[in-house]
Symmetry: C2
Subunit: 399 residues, 2 copies
């Protein structure tokens, strides 16, 4: 080990016992280690454990039958104990993707202590890693110009709230240019918030990379919070440091959709953006797809581009709710498609529990001769698909 | 339990087994639970464990003797096993603070699986919680106007890098106003990065709250990355998803200090800011205090306000380095204090390993009759002190 300066030694001491151990001791392991052949080795120092397993979305999933059709759930693989209490597991060769995993030590779930890279999905933390050389190159930070990601607060009279938080991506060059930009409004799903698309969805990396490659137009991406009773993501609003939930109030009662112009008003006042339909897109995943569908139908001449990613499409999902936002959808679509969007885009996974819902919605579009672009992928209701859909959708915008 | 809609049920299924268990099953515990009397109860579902402990900075620390004087290291307290495999621990009554903790299950360190709120300090993840009713009210998100926090990229010819990332806080009202603002440059310590002050340091909350109370002037706070070889925080630059280190190259070799005008140039070009000395402050913790000292001495007429928080002050800390940034400090201070900063502020903890270093530096100031403000606190080289120092320092600026 290299000799430390006096400052470094003293500084280390000040970190307390664990940090020193982490930096120097038995737990100073590399995990995950992405090997040259694109297998991945995971390690943990757990000398007292009798069983260590890994659960990850790179393992062949377990198929389970549910009332909503077959669903994939993650399965586990065993670590082997080696020397000095270090357990190890090496995966098979993995295709390029962003992967998630957790460890189980004596059946207790925990993160990989040597991997500080985690995503929060609602109340679940999982470690992540990326394998390059393919699809995930879009999700990785590359040597390209980077956009700015800002957490801004806007006022929403429509929701009766003075301050709501959203994430705004402005592309590289925005600050130094004087030109106007088009805007994509990008909405999260149930249990998500204004952080979901930049964290789980890698939206900033996807936009940086597609723009740098000339595949996408430079655009502003606005990621608001779609939970109508929330000011901001858990921990970012007063008294909100509680366990995040996927059941938030005021998400599918018409309020978010009706109040959407508050979001647009803030953006159009504070950013250099075009304000016409053909420079405005809206897309979302799951509940955010539901919002995108009903917002673009309720405000039929506002969005030239609409993207429904694994969207809940039927108002069956919020049975019992009465709102004019959801009434007479077919009449609204007739108005919307009279002056049709340049792009109406639908993406869904073959095993998604909303697959049939999407088929029913497509029938409405087909029966009326409304044009749309359709993409079907493997897999279910998962972030892997939403990152793919964003990567496919964004290059089609504002052309 | 309330009856779930069809959508909610299907959605839950799609989350996979763990998430469902987390939301519904045995691990759906509240932890930490801040009780009315300001004790805190921690819980974990660990039916197979034979020992569960907590390590936290709210426990009486263990004193250890080191070559650098006595240092506090965290100690642990035992959980008790209750029904159904749920272990529990309740703290004593805690004063208002931001606290950090980790769990140990059969001696293996892990986070509290029911608490998604974590801070990363170099390569160590710890759970956090806040107790209000005192000092930590400054650190909590309150019902006040919030500033914008942006991650922006600037170019640094001085470091030979096209893109480096920094965090910029603009106060509430910045977007809608036309006036100019003063700027505080706020620097992190060794092992930190451009995220440290907003995450561990709660800088956005501190600024929001002090400004809303009328205690601080509205100001822009710029938090650059002080590791000269780094484009951005680990994970935010190409090929950087590795275990973060506290030993980064090019941190104390003069390069960061010399290239500092690159940071200022970007800010002064892209934000509505005053560009005179009396509207410009610089402060930092530990290595960032060292940077603040030497930047403000090397560019002696640029900063009207200087803050050294637990600063490394002596160039002993980077022995062997030759840079004109560090030569003839007393001569440089003579120039700097000829047209003295409005405020030269020093804060240090009584048990900090840099206490003596700071005493030596104060002697230089005292011997020359250079005025400064001095604050001494309990404790050592810890974020608790740096949050306190920021809270004390910011109200003194730009008055």
């Amino acid at each position: 080990m290299k000799k430390l300066t006096l400052f470094a030694s003293a500084f280390l001491l000040s970190l307390g016992s664990y940090a020193q151990q982490a930096l120097w001791g038995g737990t100073n392991l590399v995990s995950p280690q992405i090997n040259e052949d694109k297998t991945v080795t995971f390690r943990i120092h757990a000398p007292k454990a009798s069983k260590v397993e890994i659960e990850g979305d790179f393992l062949p999933p377990t198929k389970v039958d549910t009332p909503f059709g077959p669903q994939d759930i993650p399965s586990r693989a065993p670590f082997k104990e080696g020397k000095n209490g270090v357990w190890e597991y090496t995966s098979s060769v993995l295709p390029s993707e962003l992967y998630s995993y957790s460890l189980y030590v004596n059946d207790l779930k925990m993160p990989d202590p040597n991997n500080v890279y985690q995503n929060r999905d609602i109340a679940t933390m999982t470690n992540i890693f990326l394998i390059g050389g393919g699809q995930a190159d879009n999700y990785m930070v590359q040597e390209v110009p980077h956009g700015t990601v800002a957490k801004v607060w806007y006022s929403s009279p429509g929701l009766g709230m003075e301050a709501r938080r959203m994430t705004v991506y402005t592309p590289a060059g925005y600050e130094s240019s004087k030109k106007k930009y088009p805007v994509l409004y990008l909405l999260h799903g149930a249990g998500g918030d204004e952080n979901a698309w930049t964290e789980l969805g890698r939206a900033a990396q996807i936009l940086d990379n597609l723009i740098a490659q000339g595949k996408a137009e430079p655009m502003i991406v606005v990621m608001p919070n779609g939970n109508g009773a929330q000011e901001a993501a858990p921990g970012e609003a007063p008294n909100s440091m509680v366990k995040p939930s996927f059941m938030n109030p005021k998400t599918m009662d018409g309020a978010i959709e009706k109040a959407f112009p508050d979001v647009m008003k803030y953006i159009e006042k504070n950013y250099r953006v075009y304000t016409d339909k053909n420079h405005r897109a809206i897309a979302g995943l799951s509940m955010g797809g539901f919002h995108s569908l009903y917002i673009s139908a309720y405000y039929p001449n506002k969005f030239g581009y609409v993207g429904l990613f694994s969207a809940a499409t039927s108002k069956q999902v919020n049975k019992g709710v009465t709102s004019d936002v959801y009434e007479n959808l077919e009449d609204k679509l007739a108005v919307q498609f009279k002056n049709a969007p340049k792009l109406y885009w639908i993406g869904i996974g073959k095993t998604d529990f909303l697959y049939k819902d999407n088929m029913d919605f497509r029938k409405i579009l087909d029966n009326n001769g409304y044009k749309y672009t359709y993409m079907e992928t493997d897999g279910g209701h998962i972030w892997k698909n939403w990152r793919i859909y964003l990567t496919e959708f964004v290059p089609l915008l504002f052309k």
